[in-house]
Symmetry: C2
Subunit: 426 residues, 2 copies
Amino acid sequence: MTVALLSIGTELTRGEIVNTNASWLAAELTAAGFTVGVADTIPDELDRITATIHRLAAAHRLVIATGGLGPTTDDLTAAAAARATGVELVRDESTLLAIRRRIEGRGKPLMPGHEKQADVPAGSEILSNTVGTAPGFAIHLGETTVFFLPGVPREMKHMFTEQVLPRIRPSAPNNTFQVRLRTYGLGESALDQRLEGVEAAFPGVTLGYRVQTPEVDVKVYARAATQSMAHDLALRATAEVKARLGDCVYGEGDETFASIVGRALRTRGFRLAVAESCTDGLIAHLLTEQPATDFFVGSAVTYANSAKSRMLGVSEDTLRGHGAVSAEVAAEMAAGAKRLCECDIALAVTGIPASGNGSGDKPVGLCYWAVAYPGGTIIRERVFPGDHDEIQMAAAYAALDLVRRVASGTLETAEPEVFASGPAAR
Amino acid sequence: MTVALLSIGTELTRGEIVNTNASWLAAELTAAGFTVGVADTIPDELDRITATIHRLAAAHRLVIATGGLGPTTDDLTAAAAARATGVELVRDESTLLAIRRRIEGRGKPLMPGHEKQADVPAGSEILSNTVGTAPGFAIHLGETTVFFLPGVPREMKHMFTEQVLPRIRPSAPNNTFQVRLRTYGLGESALDQRLEGVEAAFPGVTLGYRVQTPEVDVKVYARAATQSMAHDLALRATAEVKARLGDCVYGEGDETFASIVGRALRTRGFRLAVAESCTDGLIAHLLTEQPATDFFVGSAVTYANSAKSRMLGVSEDTLRGHGAVSAEVAAEMAAGAKRLCECDIALAVTGIPASGNGSGDKPVGLCYWAVAYPGGTIIRERVFPGDHDEIQMAAAYAALDLVRRVASGTLETAEPEVFASGPAAR
């Protein structure tokens, strides 16, 4: 049984935003054992929405639509769903009450647009929204169920996970299993080359890559006669994949790279201070995406040279003599952060992430990072390719990786291949 | 005339990658004056590709398909295109020669898969690939032209820009114009209510909203008989929209909120230091997305209390007596950052963004922010709704807005309605 996805929104067909909802839903449905047969995107136009609902419902037993349930006049999905079912829109009083409570709980007045969000096709099954105002709903067209969810990603994800998935899971073929490996240190082509032949060796297994520079997720997707056979097949293939990729695989599932760094620090009882220049607070952000109170103290984001001197005690002679982007400044920044915060370990990064600020001997992308710890100070340098954001992210990961290696005592093992081509480490 | 987009690839329908090709093409086509009526995504399946080509070609004069032109056995798009046109695949010798040169130029042997990429539907118009191996091609079905491009984004973009756009541009209606207004301080419903009747007063104008909490973009999209009439219509409607929204409209086009804050600081010749606790470096990140050397000095991201004391000189008595999330600590953080960095103005934020850390009198979402400047210290407090990331973003914007008001001397004008309902300002 294939599932159809329908994304509704003129902001999508005008290319103003990327359709992350469709890919998220497709991944979730795939992981739950369904096969997505089509994912259509259409603008907020009443006739087109109605016609597309009919067309998709005729060819699929399950349709999941997102978007167009907002409070404004260009939100037409509920009206189109009513038309597709041949019913009127009716105001659902319990939904209206929930909307009123949410809006007034935020100290705001209820607007006509909010009230409109309580209008759903007569006879539809309401899906309450626990994190926003617009409810979702489900309609039935012949044997097909069509779910309508809000377009706001957070609301859509909550509603899908809490209310749609439990309803549809029993009808999943349930003959697939997927493992998501998180990797750092190899590019997509290099990973693909190392994994050549795995699919042939494990019939029923498909490998997929998802690049989120500088990370790449490797998905091991197995399909078999039953789910337990698929599970077993996926685990056997995963073991082979892990053996081939070595320590590029840093985690599984939803683990983040920063959480692995945090675990290494926690294990050693180390508390970390950070001094950031070119990464502009990105390292602090990555470290604090999950609770970090037990290993992270703070970060001095020293954008101007004066801040490097005044906040971290970097000497003005060093700044003048070597420039802000230098191994010497990185080392003094790390020492300053360690002293300032009375920490066991400190990380510092300085570099040139912006275009237009490079020069002959200091090109754009040049970064230095240093770790000061009880065993001494380690400094690395590298010219990272890419645009401003890519350089920042690459530098943040490289720097965090060095912290991980210091904290976990694996400094002597080979560093990620991604750096192998850079200038020699000092 | 509407255009249809067709994205072909099982990696898309499994959600392994996000479909950035469709949004890029939609934006390019919209900018060129076309209207995208539908964007469909389907897996690499011969029958489904063939049927979808037929369906889209029947309803649109222009179809642009991407993906499925690679060297592997699961790339079936050329075969489906031939079937849809009722012709055979034929090997194009000049394309084969170009592929051979490219592959052998990289020191690799030509594989059967590479040769397969020279197979195109008989009679199709070939679009050469200047940055990869797979050529594109165009077929005609009745009055409809269907372009087939590679799925690799870089190759697709080159081929679209160099070969597709010049061919289709003459047929663009060129009768639309869009203005993008950036707003902060009102929610989507409140904006919509203020703009009620604008569409009716300016026939041909559509208003669209794009929410990126806490910002909302308002798009004024005009369609008229000619582009200059659409341009004129859009500007007249935009003037009305701006008059109704007042200073919620902070900018246009690609301007960012932080860049407006930067402009206000620059105008006054103020240099800003920041002290962040609950925002974890987000304010530094927002301020440095565009060059900020002339107004931004740095940010002390003080995650632990010890960092607030050691980096910013917040007294331990204040931390003990009032708690880290308090007006008193926010004021001392701002004073400390101002003194530490010898700045004209300093901003500090402290709050509770994470779930699980609230208590009776200090709920999750409670934030204090303070601005210290030559005229004194201003402190605000507010409980922001939402999850961890939403609270962080709301606090960062509210804090930056206060800096903007202090720097631009508009402190006395009404603050954004979004705060009006919060606890009284101190």
